[in-house]
């Protein structure tokens, strides 16, 4: 019976507009969670796919409901043994049940514990609607995505500022005739290189991933790999080569790097993944199970993982969600406050969090 509504309130003065995710025009809206009376966290504003357009602008605060799947995950994370290989946790469930927000909660927790957060807000954005595809200079068969890579690097930088100077690169990387990063330089330089020279952004991302993976076992920091919509890495893409033939995700350098990151051959951290049908390509609308969304290839690649089901609201959770809306005066319709109105909302939304939010938006 651990379902409580913990109000993680942030005062307006603690929120720094610079902490917003910037650069991704399609980025899902941000959600920050601050614990009461504590220091404003350095964590990134973890992103969510909900339709609530910036709750901070509407409510002057941003709140998460503490629910069972997130609590379960937090318990597992607290008891992780960092000497063992990284455990993969997969959050799955039907659309709108709260997988992404549970991921946000976990990311916030780990950020508060000073882990290094490697967060991909939506892996589907890497496999569809990419404008500038370049052939990779590093490997002729692969393709680079400068726009996506540079926006990810920007977010990574804001999220993990303090680690960028601590972690040192263990090899020399030559970018072009004039620029190179020597061995022992801080990782921040690689990120800067990727941001300034956009053509090398994808390679910079690859370098960052490789360095983090090799150094996570050293014990200097704990690494959390959080990917939303991980089924994009093993599905199909809608990207085409110049001769209009379809591209497989293996040919994208970013996807290859991420696949290596998500495999469990490193230790010193954890991997939390979310499946998502909403942005996925060529998958039926009702599919939500790991086998259906990942396909054979993806399932085999992720194989020993801990599945965590995220389901619709229980009656108490529904009640507390409605109470939250009423306290913030979000439900303005006079009938919404009555018992009849609440029963009707329960019926119309079937206790699905996403559907309830869309209903309450216009009531």
């Amino acid at each position: 019976m651990l379902k409580r509504m913990t109000r993680l309130v942030s005062g307006a003065q603690q929120l720094d507009p610079g902490r917003f995710w910037h650069g991704e025009p399609q980025a899902p809206q941000s959600l920050a969670a601050h614990l009461d009376n504590q220091v404003p966290d350095e964590s990134p504003r973890a992103t969510s796919c909900t339709s609530e357009a910036d709750p901070v602008r509407t409510f002057n605060e941003a709140c998460l409901m503490v629910r069972k799947p997130a609590l379960e995950l937090l318990r597992y994370l607290k008891n992780t043994n960092f000497a063992h290989p990284a455990v993969r946790y997969v959050l799955y469930g039907e659309t709108g049940t709260g997988k992404t927000l549970s991921l946000c909660h976990v990311i916030h927790f780990c950020a508060k514990q000073d882990w290094l957060i490697l967060h991909i807000p939506d892996a589907h954005l890497w496999v569809k609607n990419c404008r500038g595809l370049l052939q990779s200079a590093y490997n002729k068969q692969r393709f680079d995505q400068p726009v996506e890579a540079s926006s990810w690097l920007k977010n990574f930088k804001t999220a993990n500022e303090r680690f960028l100077s601590q972690i040192k690169v263990q090899e020399k990387y030559v970018w072009n005739k004039r620029e190179s990063t020597e061995k022992g330089r801080p990782l921040g330089e690689v990120v800067e290189q990727g941001l300034t020279r956009v053509k090398n952004a994808t390679d910079a991302v690859g370098v960052v991933l490789k360095e983090l993976k090799s150094q996570s076992g050293s014990g200097a920091f704990r690494l959390l790999v959080a990917v939303d919509g991980v089924n994009a890495l093993w599905g199909r893409t809608t990207l085409k080569r110049e001769d209009k033939s379809p591209m497989a995700p293996e040919e994208l350098a970013l996807v290859r790097g991420m696949r290596k990151m998500v495999s469990n051959d490193w230790h010193g951290g954890a991997i939390v993944l979310t499946l998502s049908q909403t942005g996925s390509l060529f998958k039926p609308r009702k599919a939500y199970l790991p086998q259906e969304l990942l396909g054979k290839e993806g399932f085999d690649a992720l194989d020993p993982f801990i599945p965590i089901l995220v389901s619709n609201y229980s009656p108490e959770e529904f009640e507390s969600c409605i109470q939250y809306y009423l306290e913030n005066s979000w439900l303005q319709h006079e009938k919404a406050q009555t018992e009849e109105g609440k029963k009707e909302l329960l019926f119309l939304s079937n206790a699905n969090p996403g559907q309830l939010e869309r209903l309450c938006a216009y009531l």
Binding site: T58, F59, Q332, H333, E334, K335, E340, E344, A361, Y362
Partner: protein, 242 residues
Amino acid sequence: MAAPAVKVARGWSVLALNLRSAVPRFPGLTQVRWSRYGPEYRDPQIDKEYYRKALAELTEEEKYEQELRKTQLIKAAPAAKTSSVFEDPVISKFTNMMMKGGNKVLARSLMTQTLEAVKRKQFEKYRAASAEEQATIERNPYTIFHQALKNCEPVIGLVPILRGGHFYQVPVPLPDRRRRFLAMKWMITECREKKHRRMLMPEKLSHELLEAFHNQGPVIKKKHDMHKMAEANRALAHYRWW
């Protein structure tokens, strides 16, 4: 208005099944816009409370009504009319007027997005305002919608009347339903025509509703223009015979 409520057409009359109505028939005239239901069909009772009353609480008349309904023929309820507590006839009528080509799904989603947009704008204003101003800011999109449409209703209208071979615009008091119709029609036309090509309907409509709520904006101006024209044609008021 003295004109009959039902349009009639000349021509042969089709004596199909159930072709009866309460309108007096004229020889050689057929109804064009009719209901397929005969006069003995009663309207459906949608209200949930009507059926929840215990048998003991009913008065004699209501008992008689209920018994009668068991034997009488009842029309089918339209698909858009529900027994939901959130249903609003004004919103339904407005949604129907916004609908194009029978695309009720789109019209309804535009309506809900408009209400959401109005709500969000008001919440932003509320957040930015001081404590005294917060008491005056109205955040309920439904009250804003109703008040805005009420503010847009003209009191007096113009009707073309034929006298001596010319049509004169005669000022005439409008019935309630005509006023509501005109308010909604003006609002929708304004939002459809006077917006930028890339601006979406909910955004424009929410903006216009908020302006009308504060008695400003182009729709209110149109209402005032109508009033001024009626005032200008005051001399022709004698041409009205009803």
